[in-house]
Each structure stands twice: as structure tokens, then as C-alpha cells.
Amino acid sequence: MQWETVIGLEVHVQLATLTKIFSGASTAFGASPNTQACAIDLAMPGTLPVANEQAFRYAIMFGLAIDAEISKNSVFERKNYFYPDLPKGYQTTQLDNPIVGAGTMDIQLPNGETKAIRIHHAHLEEDAGKSLHEDFHGMSGIDLNRAGTPLIEIVSEPDMRNADEAVAFAKKLHSLVTSLGICDGEMSQGSMRFDVNISVRPAGQEALGTRTETKNLNSFRFMERAIALEVERQIDLIEDGGSVRQETRLYDAEKHQSRSMRSKEEANDYRYFPCPDLLPVILDDDYIAAIKETLPELPAARTARYQSQYALSAYDADALSSDTVQARYFETVADQCGDPKLAANWIMGELSAALNSAELKLKDSPISAGDLAGLIARITDGSISGKIAKQVFEAMWKGDGNADSIIESQGLKQVSDTGALEAMVDEVIANSPKQLENYRTADADKRPKMMGYFVGQIMKASKGQANPKAVNEILLQKLNDLL
């Protein structure tokens, strides 16, 4: 039987506020356990929450970016359950009146088409702390530094039909929230975490199958693999005559296995009710309009601009515009060197490869955008060839200086001087009597290919510094003269 997969995502996005959603404690990542948890975060008796306005502004920015309705009367609720990393015994979240209502986000399919993924809503809530089950000799450690970090939980409709679409949606979200500057996007630090709802149904069937929820995936690759695993598990189950149980599952990326965490029957009754310590947040149109004014350029608009302003292909434009840091880098290089296409190629090629193998982020690149532009400018003005440029790039990467100083000190400037090139060509021809004879006796249509040998020798003799275009012209002239 043909099966169709149906996927919906719930995405937890940590907001890049300096302080927590209901307290003044810092949200910075990586501090010693429990050093960034104040009395409120610890749920000490008598403490009270005060909402962080910046968290609201960030949530509203997200809502505006996906063309969603912003709730002008949003309410916090208490979601009650006991867990040691949830100090109050309830999570303060939103249920009936989330700050962001329904919206949509487009993803690009491999066939070049665009698909709209509907977003059901996004709500503000506080993160829990962390339970550390290792290193405590049979006990668990609790780190409450993360407790109270503001999150938006973005809930999609079940609009995705395979892992590729789900990953494309996740990447688009990542691109959007980082471009907005509302999330640092550091997946390895848990800044974005994905819960994936998956079901399968016979192709053509309208009714949805029973879904499972795989929780807390924090990389695109794990998400892709977890979806593949779960789809296969569900299809095998059904084809073997069984049925899928509605449950929450955990994916173990190391073992590439998943296991059931709890079934629907075991699910908590969270006993939601409006939090009496926090009043409803009432917003007016002016407030929302003022935030709209501050929205930066969004990735989709940037992609379109790169195509028109820089004449980039749709693929290049999309690839370069998704990440704000990269987009800013690209624009600097393109504007300074004057050749956007070459800038795009160098960033997505040489630079990206070097960063990957060094496991560096673009923001930590040893080569600044200005320096890369300087290198590309030397290619376009004919000072160096593309090949020499790679050599210069390597030297720049090692910190030997900028392009001009390296070209100067290592004597890499391309030779375009006709007299010097003619001398080199003459010498190579004189030293290659056999190849010259072959050339002369060959059919005319074979000759261009045979010219490659002479070009190679000349480039070698010039240590790559001969201007290939000029060499070609001079060589062709001289060989033809010898026919």
C-alpha cells in the first residue's frame, strides 16, 4: 500500500531577552548551575511574577512577520504538574488567548514550488530548569538557570507531508527568528527545540491516522532521522495488523532508536486556569504598529531583493538570505568588490568549506567581509587568477594579512605584461619541438585541445602568475604563425 505521512510541528523558541520572562535574573547560557536563579525562579514563598515586556515585543514581532493576528488581550494560565525542575509546580503559559494567532509561512519544495505551511498560533511561556541525572550517585541534580527563560511555542497545522518539508519548515523558522533578532538560534544550546507530531494514512484517505509526538529534537538532522524512524515504525505496525497508539515518544539520536514516554491515558490533567498573579495584557493598535515599524528586513523579502538587486539565481539568493549574519556579510562583500556573483561563489564555496572544516561560525571567521572583498577585487581587476586567489585565501585564513599585502610579499601578482608573456611563450614553444610538430600536423579541430599542453607549461613556468587570457591570445597567435 502507498502511505502518506502527515507532520505537524511544535517549536519552542527561546527569546533573546536579557532577563527572564517573570524575573530579573539573567538568561545568559553556560553559567554555573543555579547561579542565575533568583528567589522568583526558585519559587520561594511569597514571591510574585512580573511580565517582561521585551518578551511580548519579540512574540509580537514574530506574529507580525507571519501575518498573524496579534491578541490585544492575552492571558497567562497555570499548567499544573509536579517535576523537580519546575519550581512552582506549574508552568506559566498561555492557552485560550495566546499572543499570536493564526498565520502562515512559505517553504520552498525541491521542485521549485512554494508551499504555505499554516501556523495555528504561537504562545508565550516560561522554560523549565534542567534535571541532571548523571554525576550524582543515584540522585538527580537540578539546575534552575534556565527556569523562567522566555519561550514562544509555535504550533503548526499538520501541513507537512514528509521529513524534507518538516526540515524545510524548521529551517525557515530558524531563519526567520534569527533574522528578527528574537532568538540567537543556537540549537546546540537548546535555543530551538522541536516536537514532531507524526501520523500516516493510506494515500488518498482524508481522515488522519493516530499521531505520536516525538519530543525535544534539537537539530535538523536528528529531526529528519527521527521522522524517518517513526514513519517506518508506524507503517510496519499497521502493515503487521497492529495500530498506532497515541503517545509521546523520545528519540535517542546516538542509538537511532525511539521509545514511548507516556500514552494518552497516562497523560497529565494539567488543570489549566488563568494565573491570578498576572493581569491580562491589554495591547492597543498603536503599540503593535510601533513594533511593526521596527521590524527588520525578513528573509523572504531579502531573497527577492538579492535576485533583483544583485542578479543572483533564486537558489543563491535564498541560500544567502536565510541567515542574517551571512546576508550582512554577503552584502558587504558584494558592495565592496562590485561582483555579487563572485562574492556569492566565494562565500558559499571557499569560505563556507573553510569554516566547516574548522568548525567555526561565520561571525567568528578569521577573514572579514572587507578582506574577502579585497581579494575578489584583485581577481576582477586581473591582478591575480582564480587559482592564485585560492592560495591568497589560504594565507589570509592563516592570518598572513590582507590580499594586497600577501600578493605583494609573495610576489603573486599576475603577469599581464605582453613582452614578458611573449618571452615565456617563445621559450615553451622552443622547448617543446615534439608537441609543436604534433600540433602542426593535427587536424584543425583537434588543435584547441592540444593547445592546453602549452598553456599548462606556461602557467607552470610563471608559477601560475601569467594572465591566462593573455597567454591564450599570444600563444594562439604564435602557434598559428608557425603553421
Partner: protein, 492 residues
């Protein structure tokens, strides 16, 4: 020193003047009350903690400040605080085994305000555990005795504060009121108790029972003293999102305004079945008194009075069920011995740390919020709450003050209602609706029945405490019920 009136019989206003006139020092005054507490409180059990050394240090500092001049009204005056207000470094137990070992690292805003005004803290007063109760029989530290009749309850939950002020162990005390916990014990102990409007006094550092209803306020001997206390307790606090940013007037400045032409409404529902006839008669006499002072009296209706008790006993426990989840044995407070695993840690820490009434309300609240019951209980109760508010809004279109009894009868005997929670809950029938509507209410002594005090309750519109205190003060200017001390306070 004043030869005719003992220090412990003086009001805050008199003590404040005495300190300024150097009739006595704060250290002398503080020692006087510490000595009384030491001698007499074994009999009443109104204090959980007495902070003798800290009090004397504060008193000395207050004397220095007084000597320098320009000290605030309460500077140097000893006070007692309900053990629900967090006090930095001083045990704050909420009268629960759960917090018997809890030393807060911070002060409640109310405590901060008193510190800034130079007041001296004598100690922390007994109460019903987590403010749940109307008799003070639910304390981990044992019941408080009513200074007027030692076989009777002082009321609750602020029974310790009311008894301490009544027995002259403290000139005044802080308290909290969620459904009547200031006014009912004030009535039963023959003292004055003010519950301010919701949002008038910061809840920061006040351990939550039911967040949408809890409100701190003073228990004093006179309405004038209540005004002096509220001047310090009321403040805008950006640490409490439900605290209202509204100017705090000088509540003492309008105490002597005329009440000529004041319109007093008498809700007929407060004088029906369930009201003890002698209590009713004492309240009737108070109405006559107001009439003589120029007020006009009319009957009004608060038709949802009866519904306010069941609505309260859904909303308050629902909020409490979540508010008390933090007491889990993980970070502070009571933890059971040798927990086998996480579930065992939770179950036994909470099972052993909470008393019966607290457990009952957590269970009731969790039930009312459960899937399938939420609409029938919690939502319905919230609808009733809105209707109760509408009743008041309607009433205040025609009257300035609503007057009635604070409780259906005077103090009852220990054990009389402990086996019947509903009978105990009905103790709050006249006080609960002011909490549901967020309104200020005050209880004043208005007579004795069989030697036990009767409370007169006045309720006014939100944030009209100045008028409420003025109306209460004018009654006390023409009556002396509030000046009567219980015999037990004199014997020492």
C-alpha cells in the same frame, strides 16, 4: 510617664505622641510589651516567634531617629506581624510544619515599609495554617485562645494578630484577609480590623493562599490606628503586578470629616436566618447610633450573598491548589526522611508537612479544576463572582456604606465546628463577598453578648478606605465598645 493610662492601653496615636514628648523611650515601650508577652502569652499562644533581641536593636535605632527629629509616625512603636509575611532571617512558617524551618532571605514589602518607618517588630503571630481557617484551630503551633473567653476560638485565620492586640500584647498587628481572615477574628476578639481594597497593599513576600483574594491589612484597637497603619502598609509596588498604582492619601487627615447625610445601606440578606439574635440586636443598636449622628439608613439587597460562600470555596481552593504546589520538599521547607524515589519524596513531604484543612482545600481545588469539572465548578464560580460584584456596583449607586454584622454569632467554643467544615465555612458568610468583589471592609467592636465581643462590619466602594475609616472613626468617637479590654488583659 503617663500615670493614669498603662502603656499597653494606649493607642498608636497616643504612643506616637508619647514617644515624641519623651514620656518614654522606644526601648522602654518595647521592653514593656516583650515583658507582657513573656508573662502572658503562654495563656493565649498568639505568637509563634518572639524576636526579642532584634526588637531591642530596632527600638534603640528608633530612639536615635526620634532624638534626631522628623521621625515618621510609627517610629519606635512595637508591632506584631502575622507569620505569613516573609521576614528576612526570621522564621516565617505560615503556621505550617511545612515551613517550620523556613528563614526567608527577603522581607515582604509590607515589612519593608514598616522598617522604613522605624517601627519595631515584636515577633510573628500565630494563624491558621496557610491562612486556611476561621478559628485558628488549624495551626501547627496549636490553637490561639480568645482573650475574652479562653474556651473559645479567636477566629481566623489571623487569630494570633487579633488575640495579641486584644490582650494588649502588641499595640497593633498586621494580618491578611482572603475571605474574612482580618475582620472575623477582629470581631471575635473585640478589636478593629481593616481589609483594604484588593491591590492597595502589596502582596510581595506575603505567602499566597488565594492570590486573587488575599489582601494584607491592620488589626488595631481603633479606626484611627488602622488609618495610621494603612498609611504605611499601602504603597505601589512594581514587584506585585496586581498592586494598583494609585496615590496613597493620608488616611488620618479625613477621620474627622462629618458623616451628616451619609447614606448607609443595610443588606436585608445579612439579617436573615443564621444570624444570632443578640448579635443582630447589637448591630441594630449601632445602626441607631449612626442614625443619631446624622446618617440616613435604607434597606438594600445583595441577592447573591448566599452564593458567595460556595463560589469562594471553589475559587480560593483552586488557586491554593496551585499556589501550594511549590511546597514539594525539593528546595526548602519540610522534606520527609529517606525518600525512596521522587514520588515518595513528593507524597510523604506533602502528606506529612501539610495539615488536614490544607489538604482538604488542595483536594477541593484540584478537583474543581479537573478536566470535565472545570466548567461546572471553576467557571461557574467565576460567573458568580462577577454577579456578586454587580450586586455591590448596584448598591453603591444609592448608598455610601454598607453595614451589617461581621459574623453570624460571637466566638464559638473550641471543637464546635471542627467536624463540620461547612458550618465553619459559613462563619465567613458576611465577609467573603467583599473579597470576591475586591472591596474594603472594616470590623468594629459594637457590644458584648454573654461577655463576648460582637463585630460591626462596614463595606465601602473600592479605594474609598479614607471614607470607610472616617465613618468607623466617627462611630468610635461616640461609643466606647472599642475601649473595653478583656479581663484577661488586665489581670497580669
Amino acid at each position: 510617664m503617663n500615670d493614669t493610662v498603662a502603656l499597653h492601653d494606649m493607642t498608636l496615636a497616643e504612643l506616637s505622641q508619647g514617644l515624641r514628648d519623651k514620656q518614654f523611650s522606644s526601648v522602654e515601650l518595647t521592653n514593656h510589651f516583650l515583658t507582657r508577652i513573656g508573662k502572658m502569652d503562654a495563656q493565649f499562644n498568639s505568637f509563634i516567634t518572639v524576636t526579642r533581641e532584634q526588637a531591642l536593636v530596632q527600638a534603640q535605632a528608633a530612639d536615635d531617629r526620634l532624638a534626631a527629629g522628623n521621625a515618621p509616625a510609627l517610629c519606635g512603636i512595637p508591632l506584631a506581624h502575622k507569620d505569613i509575611f516573609c521576614t528576612k532571617g526570621v522564621k516565617t512558617s505560615c503556621a505550617s510544619k511545612m515551613l517550620d524551618n523556613f528563614l526567608p532571605p527577603y522581607d515582604a514589602t509590607v515589612i519593608d515599609n514598616f522598617q522604613n518607618s522605624g517601627a519595631v517588630m515584636l515577633g510573628k503571630t500565630n494563624m491558621d495554617e496557610f491562612a486556611m481557617g476561621s478559628s485558628n484551630e488549624n495551626s501547627f503551633y496549636g490553637p490561639v485562645k480568645n482573650p475574652w473567653a479562653e474556651d473559645s476560638v479567636p477566629g481566623g485565620s489571623s487569630g494570633g494578630s487579633a488575640a495579641a492586640v486584644s490582650a494588649r500584647l502588641s499595640p497593633a498587628a498586621t494580618a491578611t484577609d482572603t475571605g474574612g481572615s482580618i475582620r472575623q477574628p477582629a470581631a471575635l476578639c473585640g478589636v478593629t480590623g481593616l481589609k483594604p481594597s484588593y491591590g492597595r497593599v502589596s502582596r510581595w513576600g506575603m505567602i499566597a493562599y488565594a492570590s486573587s483574594l488575599d489582601q494584607g491589612g491592620p488589626i488595631t484597637r481603633t479606626a484611627e490606628d488602622a488609618a495610621i497603619m494603612l498609611n504605611v502598609m499601602a504603597s505601589y509596588d512594581d514587584k506585585d503586578s496586581t498592586c494598583i498604582n494609585k496615590d496613597v492619601p493620608d488616611y488620618t487627615s479625613t477621620l474627622n470629616d462629618s458623616i451628616e447625610g451619609l447614606k448607609i445601606g443595610i443588606p436585608k440578606e445579612y439579617f436573615g436566618e443564621g444570624l444570632d439574635s443578640a448579635t443582630g440586636a447589637a448591630v441594630e443598636a449601632a445602626i441607631k447610633q449612626y442614625e443619631q449622628q446624622g446618617a440616613s439608613i435604607s434597606e438594600i439587597s445583595l441577592p447573591r450573598t448566599e452564593l458567595s460562600v460556595p463560589a469562594y470555596y471553589v475559587i480560593a481552593p483552586a488557586e491554593a491548589s496551585a499556589n501550594l504546589s511549590r511546597f514539594d520538599g525539593v528546595r526548602y521547607g519540610y522534606r520527609c526522611k529517606d525518600p525512596a524515589d521522587l514520588q515518595d519524596l513528593y507524597k510523604r513531604s506533602r502528606g506529612e508537612g501539610f495539615g488536614d484543612e490544607v489538604k482538604r482545600r488542595i483536594l477541593v481545588g484540584a478537583y474543581a479544576l479537573s478536566a470535565g469539572y472545570y466548567d461546572a465548578y471553576y467557571n461557574k464560580a467565576q460567573q458568580v463572582r462577577r454577579l456578586v460584584k454587580q450586586d455591590y456596583d448596584e448598591a453603591f449607586k444609592s448608598v455610601d456604606i454598607i453595614l451589617g454584622p461581621t459574623t453570624p454569632s460571637p466566638a464559638f467554643k473550641f471543637g464546635a465546628k471542627t467536624t463540620d467544615p461547612v458550618a465553619m465555612y459559613l462563619e465567613d458568610i458576611y465577609t467573603i463577598s467583599a473579597n470576591l468583589a475586591g472591596l474594603p471592609g472594616i470590623s468594629l467592636p459594637c457590644g458584648l453578648v454573654d461577655g463576648k465581643p460582637v463585630g460591626l462590619q462596614l463595606i465601602s466602594n473600592a479605594f474609598t478606605e479614607a471614607r470607610l475609616l472616617n465613618v468607623a472613626h466617627q462611630f468610635q468617637q461616640h461609643t466606647d465598645h472599642h475601649l473595653q479590654p478583656p479581663a484577661a488583659s488586665v489581670s497580669a
